[in-house]
Symmetry: C2
Subunit: 81 residues, 2 copies
């Protein structure tokens, strides 16, 4: 993925996960330095609403409009932080 | 939670998440520096099998035998890394 494109796309995420991936909210996960492959899988699981329970439903709306490229770019961005 | 007790308990986790919480497997999440409150919630969701989809089922067996104290200690340990 392209981290710069991911940064542009991440404005939507910053409110909960923090502009640099260190979350504002202790019950929301930090994304900074997370594994890109894990992030991609998780975002796709939210987009497809395959992940359920706990806080998954919050992410459905966030991920619904993301393309595979968006997801790869966001994963590249946060894993680079 | 008690990070030292968490470290002792974390031998079970190290195989996938790494001894210090930096995962060996790119599709498994790093836990090092993750928010303790998030980790506690996630472990309880796995223990209760409320989280489903994606890679959740792998964690059911891991979390099944954990007490609330174990969970608090593990969360304290990994968030301190």
């Amino acid at each position: 993925g392209d981290a710069a494109a991911g940064q542009a796309k991440s404005m939507m995420c910053a409110g909960c996960h923090g502009a640099d991936g260190n979350s504002m909210v202790p019950t929301y996960p930090n994304l900074a330095g997370q594994n890109a492959a894990y992030l991609e899988g998780a975002l796709k699981a939210y987009r497809g609403q395959e992940r359920t329970g706990y806080q998954a439903a919050i992410m459905y709306g966030m991920a619904a409009a993301l393309s595979d490229d968006d997801i790869a770019n966001l994963a590249a961005y946060y894993s680079s932080k």
